[in-house]
Symmetry: none
Subunit: 203 residues, 4 copies
DNA sequence: GATTAACCGAGACGGTACGTCACGTCTTTAA
DNA sequence: TTAAAGACGTGACGTACCGTCTCGGTTAATC
């Protein structure tokens, strides 16, 4: 996931294909070691407990090796997030509403487990100071919409939803309130809440 | 806004009115001086530029004086936010949809002006590590729902909306997507978007 | 020995006598704690083993406290050197030659004990990059000539030496070869060598 | 000057002439390229500016190539010093005093030009941690006595000086005070000072 | 009027993390 | 085998904050 010089999540920009690569290649397993250690530390003590010194030591790696692979601590954290947070697979029960319910139930469950995770809040804040991170994070978060978009698109293809369905809006109507409650007001996020959102969005 | 010892936003719990106070009373103008300096620094360099040392110097105040009035840097920032971000007044045009449109237009405008404010993200993150702050922030953010709740309640009272209207849900449907776009995906937040949200919420 | 802001060894320049001192005063015992820890570390592992992190920890002090009292690691080391290396007292046997012999014997002994001390070499190098240190070190080293100068002056006062005696030259003739052998050529520095130097210098 | 594996200044121990050479031969011009680059960097920024990474890049050479030819950075620096600092040729005017004056005048001039060179101090310090370097440096510095020893020997051979002249002592008496002033006290080193040293040494 | 107690500005305190740099070694591909 | 390139683990650097503590000095209410 880590890339030569660019920010996290950016595709490696053809690393000077011509001359091929000279010099000692990067340790192949270092990325994994670092990300694994990062996830451990995040689980143990949250973002606040993830200091670069400790991370390097835990991963058995020099700090420079980390900074060679990620432009910043936050780019690394974002990649760690990507690693853990496997996308929720799209159910396909032939019915948009059923699919969305299944999907949102999974989201609710994950939010519950994710309880008090400070990773996303940290990245949101950090992205205020770092444009590269901002766009990486936006990419990541828009990517997380893929499942729900797929469900909707299938519905449109099946004729279950009108061709003029505002997919963007439906996505925001379902995910927006989720995050709003989870990150901002602290109001409960449960299945009932999710179902009502789906009902409204499909109304 | 600042209180003797409790967290930001908590009502001062009757400061032991009984025994009255001995000793030198607190400087009356210090709260203002501190909040003003804080707002200046936030405007100049964001949360990252608001160090307690600089703040104390700017406000012409000792650091201890700040910590005597707010439990933490973040409690202070939250109060500063409260100070700037005056609540948007509830329009009253006798029509729920019109009122919501007027209101959301104001929100859109403020979000635009708020461009790249890192204050809210910072507080969200900090609240992950500080329960007192967490609840203060939740209070504040729920308080920001007052306007929209008032509009809806008036509609219900007028019979324009059914008595069984799920106010909580409508609030989340309107505000959730706003913050989701603003803080997370970075998608544009404009009047058109707001109007569609209102339409769906009232549908 | 440490001084508010100026380099090591500089006399504290009347610390703004007017306004007296405001703010919390510096910990009185910190200087000692730091210098003692520094001397321990120097004894254990030489200059190379004296890292600021370890020193701070050993002295039970924050790094900032050290940097508040000494402008640089080297200024601190110089003060540590001053602390250990008490001046050799001037003998007074009523005879210049006898006094010088006694004195140089003491120097020889100290050089022997000083075996492999890397402190002075380190300071000499560091002083190439730091003018303030350079002049502090010069002061210190010229101060170390005091004993020998006193012996000679007494001789002049007694009429044992001519009033036109070139004291500077005699000092350099005795100390120069000492350091030259000790630091540069590694040739042995013993009493016999010292005696011959004294004989030549007084010839 | 560089040698296969041994310390700087050691004679190359017959580089396994027998089996001839297998594999890629060493670049013949690398030594020169490295030393030249080293001298440039020393001139530009002193020892502190001579990092091995920069040096390798400047010389168009891999770091391993440098370490294959010199055991350490300091061994390389010593060789660089040897390269620049050509020995001062021995004058031969048939008179010891005149020869010494001519010689010391040249030394004074070089010291003046050498102003603030940090090379020698650096090597002196480094030699505290590295025995091999220590003896190489001692060799080098004793080698620098050759000129003055030659002048004295000629004087002895001519009968101008007694056969019992303590050559070692005379050398130390002349060079010791030079270095003492130059490296330690920072006192001026001029022709007058040198002449007085010669007078005393020959008295 | 004296005492007491909480406040005040200033700034030093012990900690902790940061990101950079240089070291000397190791690992590639190419000659 | 040696070359150039450059990644590697290590560890020190000096800075910047944090939130607390300690000064000498006010400023009331209480005694």
């Amino acid at each position: 996931m880590a890339v030569p010089i660019v920010a996290a999540g950016q595709a490696p920009p053809e690393p000077a294909r011509v001359g091929a690569k000279r010099g000692r290649p990067r340790r192949a397993d270092a990325d994994d070691a670092i990300l694994t250690a990062a996830l451990e530390l995040l689980a143990e003590a949250g973002v606040a407990g993830l200091s670069m010194d400790v991370l390097a030591q835990r991963a058995g790696v020099g700090k420079a090796t980390i900074y060679r692979r990620w432009v910043s601590k936050e780019a690394l954290i974002l990649d760690a997030l990507r690693t853990t947070n496997a996308p929720i697979p799209a159910p396909d029960e032939g019915n948009v509403r059923a699919d969305l319910i299944t999907y949102t139930d999974a989201v609710v469950e994950r939010f519950g487990a994710d309880r008090a995770s400070d990773v996303l809040p940290h990245l949101i804040e950090a992205s205020c100071y770092d444009d590269q991170l901002r766009s990486s994070l936006d990419d990541y978060l828009r990517g997380r919409q893929a499942t729900i978009r797929l469900i909707l698109q299938r519905g449109i293809d099946r004729g279950e939803l009108g061709a003029d369905t505002d997919v963007d809006l439906v996505v925001d109507l379902i995910l927006g309130p989720f995050f709003y409650r989870h990150l901002l007001t602290g109001a409960p996020v449960d299945r009932d809440f999710a179902h009502r959102l789906v009902d409204v969005a499909l109304r």
